[in-house]
Structures are given as C-alpha cells and as structure tokens.
Subunit: 758 residues, 2 copies
C-alpha cells in the first residue's frame, strides 16, 4: 500500500503544476483484471474456444450478401439486411427482434447544379460504373450524390472558394476583404464533420453551399485512383448528412425523445437541426470547371488543393445556379437487436452495436464492421451450446439510419433511456473496419482494461500482439519526428485511447446517457477514397482492404474478449488511474489553451499598436489587420485543481484497495454494491443541464466540437468557452467540471471503502 501512496502524493504534487506525464509509470506493478475479478484459467479457456469458432469465410459470405444492393434507410435492402441479421441472432441463440422507429430522412427529387457565368456548364453529378466492379453497375435504388438535410432551394450567386469552410477560413477571408453574403460558397470536404461547412456558411450569410472532394485529400494526389488503386477517382461523390449533429443527433423532428410511430413531431420548418440553405456534394471532375472560373485573389498556400489550376477565392466571376428539392418523408428505421440474458446479473447489460445502413452498397462502411460483430455474436452463441451462459446480459444490435444522423441508435437510446442509465455497463461500438493498426477510442475508465485485451490478441499478419505493433509504430514515428527527448508515449504503461467526439453510434450512449463507451476498428493500411461513394463495394473491399477478412476476424477477437471479460468479471474492470491521467491531460490542455488565448490576444493588440500588420503587408494585396480583441480576464482554476487532486487521490486509493483485495472474498451483495458504484463513475460526469447551446450533450468530459463536428473537445464547456471567448461559460464550467469530478470521487471512494472493509 505504501508504494502506491508515495506515488500518489508525488503525482498530486506534480499534477498541480504539471498535471500529467508521471502518473503512468511503467515500473509500478499494478494488478490485472485476472488478479481480482476473473478466474484466469477458465476465462482463457473460454476465449480460446471463442477464437476457434471464428471463421473469416463467414464475414466474406455475409458481406457479399449484405452489400450486394444499396441499403440506405428506407430502401428494401436495408429492411432485408435488418431481418437477415435478426434471423441470424435468433439462429445463434439470442432473443431477437427488429425494433423500429419512424424517422425523417429526405430523399432528393430535384438535383441541379450549373455554372451560368462566365460560361454555361451543366454539371454531371454522376458516378459511372468502373471496370471490374460489377456492384458499381447495379445502380437500382442507389441514392445519387446528395446531402441529407440540405434545405430545399433554388439559388443563384457568385462563387466564393472558402477552403474547408471553417471559422478560421472566414477569419482569413475577412482579412482579405471578402465576405460571402448573398454568395454561394464552395468548400473542400475534410477537416470537420461536413455539416459544419453549410452551418457556418449560413451563419456568414451565404445562400448556398457546394462541397467537393479535392484530389489532394483522397484522390490522385494521395495515390492511384479506383479501379487502379483505392483512392477517389474524378467522379466519386461523397454523400452524407448535414444534420446539425454537434447540436443534436437523432431524428430532427423528435428532439430528445424517441421517434415512435405516434410521437409528437415538430414541423420541418421548426426543426433546428435541419440546414437552412441548399447544400450539394460534387466530384472533383465537376468542381474543376467551377474552381477554374473563379478569379480574385490567389488562395493562401494552405488552402490549395491538387487540381491543375491556380486556386482563386472569388467572389465570382463564376456564378452558379443550385436547385434542390427533397421528398421530406418519414422512413422506418429497422434496428435488429439480439439479447442473451445474463445468468447471474440479468440487469447488467453489455452492449455491442454497428450500423447496417450505408450510402450505396456500403461494403466497407458499415458492413465490414457489421459482419465482424455478427461473427463475434455467432461465436458467443456457439459457446452457449456447451452449456456456458454469460453472467451478464449481452445485447447485439445493428443500427439503421446511422448515415443520416445516428438516427437508429439515438432513438433507441432515447426510447430506453431509463433502463440504459440503470442497467447498461458498457456500450462497445464498431463501424467500418479495414487493414492495419487497431484504433481504439472511448471512456478512459476502460483504458487499462482495453490494454489488457490488446496485449492478449495477436496481429493476424505480423507475429506480435496488437499492443506491440502499435508501440512499434509509435516508436518509429517518434524516431522520424526527430524529437528524441522527453517522456515518450510509446513507453507509457498503457497505450492511450483517443477521446471520442460524435463520429458513430456511440454518441447517444456516451454523450447523452453517460454510458462508458468504446469504439474499435482496424485501419491505416487500407487506403481509401471510396467513402460514401458508389465505389464502396464488395469488389473494392476485396481488392484494397481486408479482402481475406483476417483483420475483421481479429476485431471479433478483441471485442469478443472485451465482452466476455466484462460479462464474467466479479468486479467490473473499471480502473481510474488511467482515467485521471487522461483528465489531467485535458486540464493541462485547457490551461495551455487559456494561456495561448491570453498571450495571442496581448500579442495581437501589441502588434496592432505598432501598426505591424499594415507596415509589413504586401501593398499589391488586400490583407487587413485582424480585429483588436478585448482583454482576457483571469480565471480561477483552483476549484478544478482541487477536485482533480481529490479524484486522483481516490483513484489511487481504489488501486490500493484492489492491490490488497483477495479475489473471491466479496459477498454477492457487496459485489453488486461495488459494481453499481463503479458503473456510476462515468455517469457522474453527466450534467443534466448539458452544454451551452446544446443541452442534449450532457457529458462534462467529452463532446464533439460545436464548430468541428466529429472532432472531440475535452472538458468542452471550458474549452469552447475559451475558443469562443465566452468568459462566463469558462467560469461556469470550471465549476461544473469540478462538481462532476467530485461526484465521481464519491463513487470511487465508496467503492474503495467497501473493498477495504472486506
């Protein structure tokens, strides 16, 4: 116990100045889940049997079937796939049902985009079939390139090229003396959730928004294009939703409650998450004549893409007409759900999910992940044939309508919210998956647990564990970076998991319900420029991604172990020293951001006093000085530092309690008491008021960026307050985060006391 206490105090001391870096000492021996909560021999036996049932051929067969036709929500093949999965679940021993919601999903009726000046060009907006890909010929039921939740509209205006269409791009435009009021913007895809681009364009006064895939981002600049290579060819169009998901995902007409058949609904005009201007995605073949016709200032270097032109910003003389109309119908979302009721803790739920709807044939996104989930479910089903039953309840779900805005999963969470808060231990998400390295994101109370698993699973190509391969890559990257000093992430005792924004179906679980969640996938060696296009096909996946499904099967091994250990553990495998290490980093990052905001404000104003921006500018170009900024006030981070110190102390107390704990010595009652407390730690981060401007997002640790979308903001109340200079929000959320940490402290402390008393 002493050893841990000394470390703990060192850490607290260190943390108040330099919050992190020392908490993860590879030299401290820590107990594993096997030491305290699982019988190693029987568990390893179970996992080995599980592995033996896995067969890559099943993934191949199912992908071929499920991706053989377009299967967006509302399509016949989406329903078919849902029923197909539900039947499989049933066949494998699960209680199975297809659960449905009625969700708003617009389909395109009119879709026209043409350049009207300086010359008339009717754009193609069309993806041809390619040689060697039979799926790309089967275009019945394929939704053409469009953005779901664009507004209806018929607008004509001068084009302005706005880079990625983010706030900083508009700041740059302002300095160049350009605004987009009454104009149509054209933005590159990438760097944010696509819905951010039209949202900001609208806020800036634009009347329409075109998005295109620049070849520099996923086309010929990156590598050979489909069908020669995996990158986006000149005709590939990225479909996708522009629902304002960072404000709230889920059905646009039923805010915060389930989209059941008879639910009360907003009218479309009232629905705040629907875009207010028409938005349209195009290929780079179609973008080329538009961008070529734009004149005005040359774009800054960092804005330039890979087309063979000089990128200009405009406005005009290129002028376009954009005419869009949609069929604003309700569609039935079909969620196949299979349940295997726990033999010991039926009211403790471990859930797995992966969406099954795609844009087009959706082989990689999402079927590659779906078939890995199915094989995992099947192998667990096989285990039950020998008489074994999971102690906790396992739930396997296929979500429909993820693509238009996480609709299937969000409505399911809203519908089952009370039960979820009470019963759900962990939600583990997958989505598309490919070849390469394991990517792992999620709640950091699970970081140590996940690390235990990835040390036990071998990479299917290289003869090392997934952990070893990831560390090798980190070491090579550290070597290539040329920075040989300081503490290296590759030497951290456990590999860090990324914090999650809102990229897939974990969103409602993590950010709305406060359920600890994970997101797992393989990637990094698959290439990839078929995303959301006609070319995300079985043929493509076989040729360029995990064609022999060995990584898909390995993903089953990882998630299967997570599920089986979570199911069987006496004491749930939440571990808080990793959590505080990460929270310490979030605090440090936010303080650093505060410092940067403060210093850059002072520095900018000093340079304005000097007229440096004017004196140094090139007189041939318009480049105005930036605006003078009001001074940044002081903030008192002490409540946060104190709450963090208490949380750190409690996290290490719990480690000590585990260290001294004798496996099997707890009564069933005490176990339940402890597990309820542990499960409550992440839920303690929920603040029922939610975040500013978006009360649906209630997690005080993580949120998708309001102006970035997929990308996470840690301690979002504080961070976005700093970024958007809302000083009252910063003050408020320093307090709210402190309270959240203290609520978590109470649970951890209580759990430790029960263990200690034992």
């Amino acid at each position: 116990m002493k050893k841990h206490l000394v470390v703990m105090f060192l850490i607290i001391a260190a943390c108040t100045q330099q919050p992190v870096k020392t908490t993860q000492n590879p030299n401290i021996k820590m107990v594993s889940t096997f030491d305290v909560a699982l019988d190693m021999k029987s568990q390893k036996q179970l996992e080995s049997e599980f592995d033996n049932y896995l067969n890559p051929k099943n993934l191949d067969t199912w992908m071929k079937h499920m991706s053989s036709k377009p299967h967006h929500v509302g399509s016949p093949w989406s329903k078919q796939n849902a029923e197909y999965a539900a039947n499989k679940f049933k066949e494998w021993g699960y209680e199975s049902a297809v659960e449905t919601f009625e969700v708003l999903v617009p389909f395109p009726k009119i879709r026209k985009l043409s350049m009207v000046e300086p010359e008339k060009v009717e754009l193609k907006l069309y993806e041809p079939a390619v040689e060697g890909d039979r799926s790309s010929e089967m275009t019945k039921d394929v939704l053409p390139g469009y953005n779901a939740f664009s507004a209806d509209g018929n607008v004509t205006g001068d084009l302005v090229f706005v880079n990625y269409g983010l706030n900083e791009d508009y700041e740059e435009l302002k300095r160049m003396g350009i605004n987009v009021k009454g104009k149509i913007v054209i933005a590159k895809y990438g760097r944010s959730f696509r819905g951010i681009k039209p949202k900001i364009a609208y806020e800036q006064g634009a009347i329409g928004c075109i998005m295109y895939s620049d070849p520099k981002d996923d086309g010929y600049v990156v590598g050979d294009v489909y069908p020669i290579g995996p990158y986006r060819n000149e005709f590939g169009i990225q479909r996708g939703s522009v629902l304002d998901m960072p404000a709230r995902p889920g059905d646009a007409l039923t805010p915060g409650y389930a989209a059941t058949k008879d639910a009360e609904r907003l009218s479309i005009d009232e629905a705040p998450t629907i875009m207010k201007i028409p938005v349209m995605p195009i290929s780079y073949a179609d973008a080329l004549p538009l961008l070529k016709a734009i004149k005005g200032p040359v774009a800054p270097d960092s804005w330039k893409g890979g087309l063979p032109i000089t990128y200009h910003i405009g406005p005009g003389p290129a002028k376009v007409n954009l005419h869009l109309e949609f069929d604003w119908g309700l569609r039935t979302a079909y969620n196949p759900v299979g349940r295997m009721i726990g033999s010991v803790y039926p009211d403790e739920w471990i859930m797995r999910g992966n969406h099954h709807d795609g844009w087009g044939h959706g082989a990689s996104d999402p079927i590659s992940g779906m078939v890995s989930l199915m094989e995992e479910a099947r192998a667990i089903g096989e285990l039950t044939k020998t008489g074994w039953r999971p102690k906790r309840t396992l739930i396997y779900a296929g979500w429909d309508a993820e693509e238009p805005g996480l609709l299937g999963s969000t409505e399911w969470v809203e519908y089952n919210l009370a039960d979820i808060r009470k019963k759900m231990i962990v939600y583990i998400n997958t989505d598309g998956t490919g070849v390469g390295y394991l990517s792992m994101g999620g709640s950091h109370s699970l970081e140590k647990f996940v690390n235990e698993v990835i040390r036990d699973v071998q990479d299917p190509v290289h003869d090392v564990s997934l952990d070893t391969r990831l560390r090798s890559r980190m070491r090579v990257r550290e070597y290539n970076s040329g920075n040989y000093e300081g503490i290296k992430e590759s030497e951290r005792a456990d590999l860090r998991m990324y914090a999650m924004g809102a990229g897939s179906d974990y969103t409602a679980f993590l950010h709305h319900a406060g359920v600890p969640a994970l997101n797992m996938a393989f990637g990094g060696e698959s290439g990839g420029g078929a995303y959301h296009s006609l070319y995300d096909t079985y043929e493509y996946y076989k040729k360029f991604s995990d064609g022999n499904f060995v990584y898909g099967t390995t993903l089953s091994k990882v998630n299967g172990r997570l599920v089986l250990r979570l199911s069987e553990a006496d004491i749930l495998p939440f571990r808080f020293v990793n959590m505080v290490d990460n929270i310490g980093q979030f605090i440090k990052d936010n303080k650093k951001l505060y410092q940067v905001v403060q210093q850059s404000t002072e520095e900018r104003n000093r340079l304005l006093d000097n007229e440096d921006f004017t004196i140094s500018r090139n007189p041939k170009k318009t480049y105005l000085p930036p605006e003078r900024l009001p001074q940044v006030p002081g903030f008192d981070f002490k409540p946060l530092d104190d709450a963090f110190a208490r949380l750190t102390s409690n996290a290490w107390k719990y480690e000590d309690a585990l260290f001294n704990f004798k496996k099997g010595s707890l009564s069933a009652e005490k176990k339940s008491e402890i597990n309820a407390l542990l499960k409550g730690v992440d839920q303690a981060f929920i603040n029922i008021e939610g975040l500013p401007r978006r009360d649906w997002f209630k997690n005080m640790m993580y949120a998708p960026g309001y102006y970035t979308g997929y990308g996470v903001k840690t301690l979002p109340g504080i961070r976005e307050g700093l970024e958007e200079r809302q000083w009252d929000e910063v003050r408020k959320y320093i307090k709210e985060v402190s309270k959240a940490l203290d609520r978590a402290s109470v649970n951890i402390n209580s759990a430790s006391r029960i263990l200690d008393e034992n």
Copy 2:
C-alpha cells in the same frame, strides 16, 4: 567601462553553457560609427546629396537597353553591355577598363530528349513567345534550355523519379528497394544548387539526369502564370550551370589560377568540376508525359508535386533517350571595372560588383541589380563634381559569366589575389533585385554597421525605415507562429544577417580570399517564375517586379551609404560583438547537430534491435529498415569553447575601447595600424589548407554545402564532418576553427590595445 565588463562576463558564463541569445541586449547603449569614426554632419550632408542625384528613370532606361537582347557570356550583347557599362563609368569620372578572361563555356549543339517506352513522345524543349511581351519574340541569340557543363552523351534508360535528387532522397529510395544504377533520373528543381542533383545522381550510378520545374515550386500552384501572373508557365525552362561549384567555382580548366589568354589549361576530360553524365532541364509541359508514364511505388507525400497525376517512382516503364552534344569553346568574359582612387587611403579598396551576363534577356537576373549599381556609381561620380573625393579607393565592377559558374568574378579574384588580400576592405555584391523587403547577408563583423545604415534608409512605399519594416514582418511572423515565448529575434538590438553560401559573385572574395563580403537585394513581393527562362524580360519586370524602380533606387541608397561610410570612416566600422553573437550561434548549432547525430544513431539502432521498422511496416509496400549505424564517438569541444570565450572577451574589450575612445584623437599612423588589424580579422578565418575535398574553399566560418550548394554551412569543417560521419574531420576542424578564432582574437586584441593606449 564597468558596465561592459559585467555584461561581458555574464555573456562568457552564459556562452559556455548556452552560447548565444544574451549577447544582444537591446538595453546596452553602444557607440555608433558616427560616434567614433565619422563626422556626422558632413557625412549626412554627403549622403543627402547622394540621394538627390538618384533617379529611377535611369534604371529604367538602362534596363530597357541592356536587356533588349540575350546577353550570355560569349554573345554579342554581353560584350556590348560590358562596354556600355565601362563607358558609363568613364563618363561618371572613373578610371575605366574592360578586363577580360578566356573561360570555358559550352554551348549546345545537339539537344534531344524523347520518351521511347511505353510510347514514343518527342519532347518540345521549346519556349514560345507570349502575348504582350515583345522581348519573348526576339529569340535571336537566345541559348535554348540547357545545363552548362553537362557531359556530352547519348543515353537510353528507364526513368526514376528522385524528388529533389538530394542524398536524403536516395536514402529513402534505398528503403523502398530502388536504386538508380544504369537509369536516368528525373528530379525537381529546387532545394539545392542544381548542380548537386546530377552530381549525386552520378555518384549513385545514374547515366543521365533530367531536371524540371514542378508547378508546385514556382508554377500555377504558387500563383497565376506568365503572362497573366508572375509564375512559371508550362513551357518555361530553367537554364543554368551544373558546374560543381561547391567543389570550386570559376573556370573549369584553370583551377585556382586566372584564366588568362595564355594560362596553362586542363583538358576537358581532366577537369573535375565538369559533370560526368548528360544533364537536361525541361519545362513541366514536357515533364508531364514522362512522370505520367512512370509506375512503381507511389512517391511519399513530401515528394509529390503539383501536376495532375499520381507521382510514382519507377524505375520505368517510362524509358527515355537523352542525346546531348556541346560546343566546348573558350569564350571571352568581359568585366567592366571602374576605379575611383582614394584621396587619403588609395590602397584601401571598397568594391561593389554585380554580374551583367544573363540567360536570355536577363532583365531581373542580373540587370535589375546592375542598373542599381550603375546609378549608385553615377551618383558618387556626381558628388566628385563638387570637389569631394572618396578617402578610400572605390571599385565598381560588372561581372561577366556569372551564370556558367561565377567565372568573371572568380578569375578576377584569382588574378588579383595578392592585391585583394592586402588592399580590399570589403566586397559588396548585388545580383537581381525586386520588390519588398531588404535581404542582407554577409560577414558578421559588418552586421552592426549594416544595421546602422538600414535604420537611416526609408522604405520607398511604406513610411518607415527598412529596419522597421523588417522588424514588423518578423513580429507578424512570430505572432503567426503561435510561439509567444522565449527571446524574439525581432527584439534583437541588430537584425541578423544571413550567412552566405555560394549563390553569387561574393563567393571568391569571401570563401577564397577571406575578404569580408555582403550581399544585398530587395525581394519577397515580386513573385517570380521567370528565373533563367525566356520570360525574364523587361516587360515582365515592369509588370510584376519593381516596375517604377523605386526599390532599385533604394538599393542604391543602401549600398551608397555602405560605400560612403566605409570610404570615409577614420576607423573601419567592423564590430565584433555581433560577430561573436553569430559565431556563438554556429557553435551552438553544431553542438546541437552533434547531439542529434548521436541520439538518432542510438535511437535508430535501438529500434532495429526491437525490429520496430519491420513490425510497423505496411506489408503491401517495400520499405526496408534503415541501415544500422556505427556508434558516434565523443568529441572534445573544450578547445573551441575556450577559443570562443577568448574571442568574446576580446570583442567586448574592443567595444569598451571604442566606448572610451575620443573621436579624432588618433594619429594617421595609428589609424592605419588599427585599420590593417581590423581588416585582418575576417582574413584570420582563412585556413590555407582549405576544407576537405575542396581546398579552394578556405573560410573556416562559412562555406556552401558540399551536398546542398547555394545553402551555407557554418563552421563547415565540423558540420559536414558530423553530417557525413567523418569523425576525423570533426576532430580536426574543432581544432582548426579554434585556431582561426584565436588568430582573430589576436588582431582584435591588438586593435583594442592601440585604442586603449591612446
């Protein structure tokens, strides 16, 4: 005196650990050249009269004339321009002559490049006239696109794309399992002197080398192309020399001695600075079909250019035939030289130079600088009409044959070496000049002096001094970098001058003779993709560069002041605290490099032991681990640190002596004694043995990089020893540099003593 001594000790203390950063304290009041060596009133009066004589229209008239025809060495217009300048010098009151040398300059006879596989493509190798540029129509006497000092040859081979063709690129190729033996390489222009590319290609076994201008570097990616904008259009070819100048510039056949008519000459086969393989420059229009036809691995991201293709590396299947033959004739280089003999110190020379030969019409390069020099010479001539005469001898030269390899200036220096070593105080170079910010490079003993001048000259467009504008830009850059901490360069008491490699005619003066040298130009707002092409014309310059010649005239003001103050100063304005501040930085940089070499070696070997490069690699791609490196030995930097501490101490002693010096109190004899000592400081850096593999380069402080060319290496003996892992060289040059510093110390110390004794 005390104040300075305290500072001095602080600095020495600081320097042994952190050599630099504190020596330039803006709060220490230092004496100016006016305080100790010049009568402020009469000098300012002289400079103001000088300014009044300057007239931008002259620059315009002369440029129009001198760039009206192609004027490479050996062309009729080169001779005409030389005589034109010589006559002007005479007209303005100078003793004037055209001094000649007979230098080897090959002209192309056969020039063919075609793709022979996978399809036959005859390349154009041709620059058409463009609309609105009459000069581009006048192509009589224009040398077509070629590389001077390419070998003759007729070779056929598979193409390999080698990025910029530098050593690190071949290391990358090696890891991809590709070598260039028996192949023809195609390299992008840029990142090095062009001659480096074929030199390394040859060392690697290639049989031919093609170089092209990628649109990402100076074509449409950067901005609009000529004639719409200033950047390189698809047909623009960068001509240029591939003489091995980093080994030795100057005439290839007369190594180290002047190329007089009767000089003994090497045969062409014996001449080591002539390339051993055929080399050819092409436009990006011609590069496109070649690069498109190359297959094999996709190039790394940092290798990719701006053409609308996926860049592959090869080898092949693209195969080319390159057939080159040259007329290897001697040409007469005409150097017009004007002398105005000093009234007081006729044997102390201040020299200005700018080359007059160009590739094509060469309006920007070099006539823009030449006409600025001429206007400066004319205004000084005007001053003498009122009875004033310079105290020291002024020499104005126009160099011929700079483009093929600094031939005119190098032969002149070799011819006059003894006199130069004895008499020349400073050589001030210019070359092309444009619009924007003053760029200033040179010997750091002159840094403080140059800074005094740029504080006295106004920017012609913005109502601030040149110094203020440069600092504004630095502050904005520092602000944009987001790094608000640490000591800022913009707050340095004097702005730093860059250390010089071998980009222009200062080379022989600085690196061979040890004469303190400067290089001055305006730039940064001129754009520029006409370099060494048919389009470097008067029309282009008028439209896109300094069309009203206000910056050209300002350059005359800067250099005129440098010349007039150097001419008139009682005590020569060398100042050594700036010099030691810079040398301290060189030492620090070299020690840092040593640390990086050591750490990266250890780290690489550790990763090799772990097999990290193998485990982390993408199995679909060939990417071999890097080679294991032998351990790096320890080096004893103490002799260098000690010599540097002595030099620092002496530099501050000299400052103190100046601080206490009473202007006008020195006898003529003592003045001469001091000035001779001061002049000798920079020459003390000369080591007669020279650098490894290139004994012509004798300066221990600076040299062009043996494998980079233009770019400077500071303390080159040590630095290149570290870079190329020649440990004996590192040991040797730590000692040689220490000795050089001590030689300089002796001179500075003696000068201080004379001042103190006074």
